[in-house]
Subunit: 402 residues, 2 copies
């Protein structure tokens, strides 16, 4: 087992990050040039680049902005073809004219998280002090740090108050952190399939993924960027293990069961006899084309470290005292990675501070991934809550002038 400490102590006050890739579509902004970002670790970051994407039109009083927070392996391309895979954006079915996040009404911002690999500063970027890629010398990032960097983008866009912050899974963690840290900047918050802290089981699955990456000799202590081979095999195994946790037992049974792949009988060997094996191998091998193994380490670590109660004297409600934010929490019955009980704990904490909270558990067998799928009841809830909140916010339903 590889055990590696993060020892990238900067020689000056702040860690500057130079992007390794600059030809991705969408917006970028350089932040922390005059005032570095103080990270939870105590390190200071800046200047550094953040990449983001927007959809729709910001209205004149800048009151119709929805910030989408993406999940572990997501990115800013929420509602357009992905520049590497060509596949539709991860919330393509939810964002658009007449869809729950209606681009005739709302302006959508989606920001690649700190530590990521799609244009925002992360371990594959270059340390200008050495001219080398950071790898494990990149500072450890937390959910709080991701959100702090997002707030710098929102400040830059001149948006005083986001109409809504929403996202699923790790996205929900960011939503909760936005509501806790910057309550005056958020009108409503929709954390979906989330939790206020990462559970032991979830840390365990993340640790397996990290160990799979670190066990790959091509990982090479994180210094693989100049090698011919990247740790694709380890990263694929990590993705395969994680992917199982995104689905439910019954969804796997419904979709694959024990059906064989392109054969009428088992091979009596180690081919992908079963469809589920073939599917998982495909998930692993396509993931490595678009994701950086070190980013996987850093972002899983950010999730593991997330524990809002711990940051507030062990009392989750203390994170949300007197909050003006209107909350809508959504969970899915078959989600065993972020089960309903986790959302319920947040609801209890919000109730304890008399916050405005809606909570809906949606019946589905799709597991954690339900928040990315075409789930009609989920769409109705999302659409309905947003419409109600928009009325309260004075977004009168007129189309925004293009």
């Amino acid at each position: 087992m590889s055990v590696v400490s993060n020892t990238g102590a900067p020689t000056s006050d702040s860690i500057a990050v130079e992007p390794a890739v600059t030809d991705l579509p969408g917006h970028t902004i350089v932040l922390g040039e005059t005032e570095p970002l103080e990270l939870a670790s105590g390190q200071r970051l800046g200047p550094f680049t953040v990449a983001y994407q927007t959809y729709g039109t910001l209205n004149a009083d800048k009151s119709n902005a929805i910030l989408l927070c993406h999940a572990l392996t997501g990115d800013q391309y929420a509602a357009e073809a992905h520049p590497i895979t060509g596949k539709p954006g991860w919330w393509d079915t939810i964002i658009g004219a007449g869809r729950p996040i209606d681009l005739d009404r709302y302006f959508v911002i989606c920001i690649n998280v700190l530590g990521g690999c799609m244009g925002t500063a992360g371990p594959k970027d270059i340390n200008p002090k050495t001219g080398q890629r950071f790898g494990l010398d990149f500072p450890i990032i937390t959910i709080t740090d991701m959100v702090a960097a997002q707030k710098m983008v929102i400040d830059h866009l001149g948006i005083d108050k986001l109409f809504c912050v929403t996202g699923g899974s790790m996205g929900a963690m960011q939503v909760l952190e936005w509501a806790a840290r910057y309550p005056e900047r958020v009108f409503c918050a929709i954390p979906i399939a989330g939790a206020a802290r990462h559970s032991a089981q979830n840390i365990a699955f993340h640790e397996v993924g990290r160990q799979a990456i670190m066990a790959d000799p091509n990982w090479n202590g994180g210094n693989y960027y100049e090698q011919a081979e990247s740790p694709h095999r380890g990263l694929a195994v990590a993705r395969m293990a994680a992917h199982i946790t995104y689905l439910s037992d019954s969804a796997l049974h419904r979709k694959f069961g024990r059906e064989l792949q392109d054969r009428t009988d088992v091979s009596y060997g180690f081919d992908a006899d079963f469809q589920i094996e073939s599917y998982l191998r495909h998930q692993g091998s396509t993931f490595v084309e678009r994701f950086d193994a070190n980013s996987y380490l850093f972002i899983t670590r950010a999730m593991d470290y997330f524990d809002q109660a711990a940051e507030h004297d062990g009392v989750l409600a203390n994170a949300f005292g007197d909050t003006p934010v209107r909350f809508c929490l959504i969970s899915f019955t078959s989600d065993w990675l972020f089960p309903t009980a986790e959302s319920r704990q947040i609801v209890h904490a919000l109730n304890a501070v008399a916050a405005s909270v809606s909570f809906v558990e949606i019946e589905t067998d799709a597991g954690h991934d339900a928040f990315l799928l075409d789930e009609p009841e989920f769409f109705r809830i999302l659409s309905g809550f947003l419409t109600g909140a928009a009325e309260l916010r004075g977004l009168n339903g007129d189309k925004v002038a293009p």
Copy 2:
């Protein structure tokens, strides 16, 4: 992803297996010398060695024998210190004078499965035709094959009818196969935390483990026995992933939660900050000392292939028509790897053929591993059912003469 076909076609009629290790404690027997074992794959095996262990005393009419079927990574050392790890046997708390499997009354046999690595023929053994280790040229083994080899041992011991066949997890699969294939040879059967077929989710987790092993360059297509390095990193990752599935979310929360390991604050790095990480790494690194990576491939494959209904025209009940066997099925509420629903399906099939069936779901948060733990209600059920069956069998409760 490595994809490897099993192409070990023998040049003669039968595949002979020469043990690579012969100094383990316990019994061994050479089988298939005159009549090879016909495997489910159509290949023929023999001669081959089977290693087993016994505890207690066989009575005069050989009616008090309990066959224990071990789980995926178990072995024949059920009730004594393990010869490699020195740890207590996997059912040490259940077997012994005055314990549920009372050695004053019963004679216990436990046989290392075909494909294993503790003395019974498996991929680490030598192919006498080549003088080389088999590796992936070892024939693919099924649960049926394991049970067929066990029956040859029971024949050798002169036992016409086993008093009981029992085991948990993969052991339960063997119990069911014993009852289906050799009903006249089994008085009672206790499948614990089992299933009559391996689910899509379970195949998926096994496939992740296999891919982790095959992704390790030291695996080398299964030919690592003469190398300095074995695929320990891949096998450790496989074990870590599997180990999570043996526990429950709530047990992990109870045992570890988000407690830190030997520190008061997170390291902001990739050390094992959390106790659960340290525990998992330990599980991985100790496992590789006692288990062969290729055996892990073969035995997980045997479980994946298990589907009793498919072997009986898609109707599970057909596997048990007119069975004289008395069944007691046991499941555990928090077991999500072999959930109660799987046991219930078997109960329904047995009800359909009017078999004698008891079924108990035991309340525990210990997950699948509950069958290996000190669970008082489980012990009471096991002990009670065995005592009742022993009366029916005419085992009058007297101690067996030593």
